[in-house]
């Protein structure tokens, strides 16, 4: 039997802490440990920051829908918005080994999402953007 939790909010950066609280509660109820909860919270925080700043370009009245689901040994977060489509292939990966003078300030959010989650998929249609991120829950 799967578990499902949903949350929706407007597109303001002030909402990030509420989003994080929702994700933490859902992830804990689905049995993720502290480390996994942090991973998922951070991935969702980075993704929602991107939606607010890039998809909705800072406009506060956009809608963000977040669904957390557990099926078997997978915890899946789906984030939907109706802002500008986001093409992750256009974002250059950050230079994580470069000296400070060569460090750019972009690309880190997407880098963390891929590092922290096991599967990541971006999907765009006329109905909006959908990001699906999966965290595998190892047996204890």
């Amino acid at each position: 039997m799967g578990q499902r939790f949903s949350f929706s909010t407007d597109s303001r950066l002030e909402r990030l802490s509420k989003i994080s609280e929702f994700v933490e509660q859902a992830a804990r109820q689905c049995g993720l440990d502290d480390h996994q909860v942090y991973d998922v919270q951070m991935a969702v925080d980075e993704a929602c920051s991107n939606v607010i700043e890039h998809a909705y370009e800072g406009k506060p009245n956009g809608k963000i829908e977040i669904v957390c689901e557990k099926q078997n040994d997978e915890f899946t977060v789906t984030i939907r918005d109706t802002g500008k489509p986001f093409d992750p292939t256009r974002i250059a990966p950050p230079k994580t080994k470069a000296p400070i003078s060569e460090r750019d300030i972009g690309g880190l959010g997407l880098f963390f999402i891929h590092q922290l989650m096991d599967r990541v998929n971006f999907d765009f249609s006329k109905n909006g953007n959908r990001l699906t991120m999966v965290k595998r829950i190892p047996p204890r």
């Binding site: 950066l13 002030e14 990030l16 802490s17 994080s20 480390h35 942090y38 919270q41 951070m42 925080d45 980075e46 920051s49 607010i52 700043e53 950050p94 230079k95 994580t96 080994k97 470069a98 000296p99 400070i100 003078s101 460090r103 300030i105 880190l108 959010g109 880098f111 963390f112 590092q115």
Partner: protein, 106 residues
Amino acid sequence: MNPQIVLLCPQGRLDAWTARQLGTDLEKHLSHGQTRLIIDLRNTRYISSHGLRVLLETQKHAREIGGGLKLCGLNPRLFEIFEMAGFDRVFEIFETVEQAEQAFAL
């Protein structure tokens, strides 16, 4: 504390929203010629890429004007995030404020 060094202790989360305020505070110090900065992260439980960017921009700016930014008090999870992004190579990271302060004196 050496009066020429500024110590900041951000609380809780450094996300895209709260990092803006920290960035404004840090820039204010730099514009007033306070170029030696220590950020004590012992009460910071979360930092996103936005928080890291603010620290990176501050470090670059501080070094340009002859100062620098040193960090201390990171919990193990925060340190892991710094390592993941390679930020442990960009910053001098100390356990305590006293150690960070002494490093400025060297």
